[in-house]
């Protein structure tokens, strides 16, 4: 049996929801354990005082990437059957900026706001109310913005395809970039701590 299990018919639509639920709970649990149920901790990222978000997310990326790469290489997984969405270059840049502003102002991103609500944070409830309003607003505005949202469609694109590099080389470069980012993040944190101490 090889992955992806759903594509190979190992379980049906209903069972996939149970699997998704279990994965979701696990995701939320580890976000909470990393301290991401706290808006203070999350926004410290933007003041360069605590770069845990960068470190946790980059660790997750490296772990998943290495896992997928080696499972596929060893034949436990068929990477060509894994679905991923299209790249819509400009709309995704704009969307990323909007999400970033929301993150700084609200103190959460969508996933961490759910985690925070689960641990009883009231500001997360307010944040999620905002998310809901945003979703409805987006839906209502759809006819006006559909053209933009679907523009600059590059299709499903991977980094090896985009840069014309070998898959393994991209994996190596991402690992090196992550380790460099961790090192840099620690240095920044130390410097900020010294400055705080000096004030």
């Amino acid at each position: 049996m090889s992955a992806p299990f759903f594509k190979f018919g190992a379980f049906g639509d209903e069972a996939s929801l149970v699997v998704a639920f279990a994965i979701g709970i696990g995701f939320g649990f580890f976000l909470e354990r990393a301290g991401f149920g706290s808006a203070r901790k999350l926004t410290d990222q933007f003041y360069l005082k605590d770069l845990a978000v960068l470190k946790v997310m980059f660790t997750a990326i490296v772990t998943a990437m290495l896992g997928i790469f080696y499972l596929s290489w060893m034949g436990f997984m068929d990477l060509s059957l894994v679905y991923f969405g299209s790249t819509y270059l400009v709309p995704q840049i704009v969307g990323g900026l909007i999400l970033g502003v929301g993150f700084v102002v609200g103190g959460y991103c969508p996933g961490t706001s759910v985690v925070a609500l689960a641990t009883g944070k009231l500001d997360a409830l307010v944040f999620l109310a905002g998310v809901t309003v945003g979703i409805f607003g987006f839906g209502e505005a759809w006819p006006a913005i559909a053209g933009f949202v679907n523009s600059t469609d590059l299709g499903p694109l991977t980094l090896p395809q985009a840069f014309g590099l070998r898959y393994g080389l991209v994996v190596f470069l991402v690992v090196v970039a992550a380790l460099g980012a961790f090192k840099g993040a620690e240095a920044v944190e130390r410097r900020m701590a010294r400055r705080e101490g000096a004030v």
Binding site: K7, F69, W73, D78, L79, L81, Y167, V175, L179
Partner: protein, 197 residues
């Protein structure tokens, strides 16, 4: 400077592991160099369970719903395609098949006049690792009968539209023909008519 591993912190050790795996990845290929193993039993089971089929009713629903999560491939030649094809179909000959335009993670629906060409193309794609390839049951003939003309259930079995076999001695092809009458609900109540191009 102490280089003994025991004195390293856990994050440093993990970083070393990641770096090692990253360096080893330089020599690997996650797509397995294109080698695909064909598993005859698995294919036979798919045929037996008929999970490799899409019915014309299902397809007409998809077309009407405007679904975009499948690729409909017309295997007939360009002239026949130009004369008529099922809405949303793309024209690809069996010789062009795996091609660059199809991805192995897509749901692919194949059709030809009857069912033989599409069945052959299905095997070809499965052998190349296109697990999402399916056949339109009964092909264009059944689409014409059931969706376009809404013929009463028993009127035209597909045999009528098959080209007469020239050499009577050649026996093989009909083995892959789908069983046309069984699948259709007799009443065929909510059939939709759909225009061509």
């Amino acid at each position: 400077m102490n280089i003994s591993l025991a004195s390293w912190s856990l994050p440093s050790k993990l970083a070393l592991v990641a770096l090692g795996l990253g360096a080893l990845a330089l020599f690997g290929d996650p797509y397995g160099g294109g080698a695909v193993t064909i598993q005859p039993r698995e294919l036979a089971a798919m045929v037996q369970k008929e999970v490799d089929h899409v019915s014309v009713q299902e397809l007409s629903d998809w077309v009407l719903q405007g679904r975009t999560d499948y690729r409909l491939i017309d295997l007939r030649d360009a002239t026949a395609y130009a004369a008529y094809h099922i809405p949303t179909a793309e024209n690809l000959l069996i010789t062009e098949l795996p091609g660059d335009s199809l991805a192995r993670n897509e749901k692919i629906v194949l059709y030809s006049e009857g069912g033989i060409h599409s069945a052959q193309a299905w095997f070809l794609l499965q052998a190349e690792g296109y697990k999402g390839a399916t056949i339109l049951r009964g092909g264009l003939d059944e689409w014409n009968d059931r969706i376009l003309h809404r013929a009463p259930a028993a009127s035209t079995p597909t045999a009528g539209t098959l080209p007469p076999t020239p050499g009577a001695t050649v026996a093989a092809p009909p083995a892959v023909k789908p069983p046309p009458p069984a699948a259709a609900p007799a009443a065929a109540p909510k059939k939709k008519k759909k225009e061509g191009c």
